[in-house]
Symmetry: D2
Subunit: 138 residues, 4 copies
C-alpha cells in the first residue's frame, strides 16, 4: 500500500478502538496480494486437470476482495461478522493453496499462488487471534 493509504489507516484507527491496526493492515495487504495472484493464476491455468484449481482461484479472488473491502469500512464494523468472514476466507485460502500446491510442478503461477494464498490464510488467522484476545470478545 502507498503512503496515502498509510495515512488513511491512521484515520481509521480512531474509529476501531482496541483493534490491532498494524495486524489489520497486514491482513488487507495479504488479501490484496491474494486477489491479484489468484486472478493471474486462474487466467494462466487452462489445461487438463487445472479446472478445479482455476475455479478455486476465482472463489479466492472474490472472497479476498470482499474481505479487504470489509476491513476498509470501519463504519460497518461488527466483530462477530468480521470473525465469521475471516474464518471463511482463511478456509478458502488454505483450500486454494492446497490445490495450487498439487500443480506447483507444472505451473510457476500455481507455485507462487500457493505461497500468496497460504500467507493470506496466516494473516487472517493472526488477525482472528488478536481479535479473540480483545477485552470485548472475552
Amino acid at each position: 500500500m502507498t503512503n496515502v493509504n498509510d495515512q488513511m489507516m491512521d484515520m481509521m484507527s480512531m474509529t476501531m478502538p482496541g483493534m490491532d491496526m498494524k495486524m489489520m493492515q497486514e491482513c488487507m495487504e495479504a488479501c490484496s496480494a491474494a486477489e491479484q495472484a489468484t486472478t493471474m493464476c486462474a487466467d494462466a491455468s487452462s489445461g487438463d486437470n487445472m479446472g478445479r484449481m482455476m475455479s478455486m482461484c476465482m472463489n479466492t479472488a472474490d472472497m479476498t476482495n470482499t474481505m479487504m473491502r470489509m476491513m476498509m469500512r470501519p463504519m460497518a464494523h461488527d466483530m462477530t461478522t468480521m470473525m465469521a468472514m475471516l474464518e471463511a476466507t482463511m478456509m478458502m485460502c488454505k483450500a486454494c493453496a492446497d490445490e495450487c500446491t498439487t500443480m506447483a510442478d507444472m505451473s510457476d503461477h500455481a507455485k507462487m499462488c500457493a505461497q500468496v494464498c497460504m500467507n493470506c490464510a496466516d494473516a487472517c488467522e493472526a488477525l482472528m487471534g488478536s481479535m479473540k484476545a480483545m477485552p470485548s470478545m472475552s
Copy 2:
C-alpha cells in the same frame, strides 16, 4: 433468473451430487436480490445517522455477490468452505436487516432492503440446513 439459467442449473446438478439444487437456486436468487437491494439502499441513504447502514449495505452487496458466484462454480465446490461462507453471509444479512429496520420509518429503500436481506439470511440458513442433512456431512 431467466430460463437460460434454469437450463444451466440442470447442467450444474450433475456435478454436485446430493446437493438440493432447488434450494441452492433459491439461495442464488436471494443473494442476487440482496446485492441489488443493498446497492440501491446504500446509494439512496446519505444523511445523518445513515452512515452505518450505508456501510453495512456495501458489505452485504459484496458478500452476497461473492456467495452467489461461489454457488455458480461447482468445479470448486468444497462443502466446508461453502458452509463457512454461508454462515458469514447469513450473519451479515441479519445484521444489515437489523440496521435497515431501525431506519425503515425514514426511508422506503431501507424498509424494502431490510426485507430482502432477511429473506437472503433465511435462504442461506435453509441451504445450510439441507447441507448438514447430507450423508457426507453426517
Copy 3:
C-alpha cells in the same frame, strides 16, 4: 428481478429525469443474467483451447456486475461516464459472445453463454441509443 426491485425502480425514476427506466431495467437484468452465465461458463470450461474463452467470461462477469451496480446508483449518475461504460461493456459482451460461439459445438454452457452475452450487448446498445436521444445529450 423481484417485485421488491420493481418498487425500487419506481423510486429511482424520480432521481434520473428523462431516463428511460424500462430500458434501463432491462439492461440491469441483462447484465445480471450475463454475470451469472459467464461465471458458470468460466467454471465449466476448463480444457484444451478453452483458456481464452474462460478468461473472457471472467472479464465479462466483472464488467457486467460493475455496469449493473452503476445503474443502481442514481446519486452518482453522470451521463458521459455511463455512456463510456456502456460502450466498454457492449464491446466486451460482443467479444465474449463471439468467442463462446466458436466453442458452442463443444459446450452447452458456451452455447447458452453466447446468447446471454449477445442479449446483454443488445441491451447496452439500446440504452445508449435512448440516452443519445435525450434532449440533454443533443
Copy 4:
C-alpha cells in the same frame, strides 16, 4: 505489489508482446490504490452533501477493481475492449476526483481520495497513449 507479483508480471510479459509492461503494472497499482482509497472514502463520508461523492466513490471502486482484473488476464487480452475500459475508468476517476476535491476542505479522506483518483486517471491515460503508439494499433 509484492515481489511475488513482480515475478508474475515477468511471466505475463511473454503473453502480451509489444505491451509496455512497466506502464501496465503502474496502472494496475494505481487502480488497486484507487479501489482502496474510494472504498475508505465512501465509508467515511456520510453526512449532508456527501451523498453524490459516496456513490461516485463506490462506482470508482468497482470500476478500478474490474480494470485491474482485466489487466491481470492476458489470455483474454483484446486491444479494443481494453482501450474502451481504460477510457471509461479514466473518465470515472476524473469525475470522482473532481467531486472529492469539492469536499477536500471538509474531509481528509476526500482530500486524499481526490489525489489517488487523479493519479489513477493519469495512469490509465498514459497506458492508453502507449497502446495507441503500438504498431498493431496504427
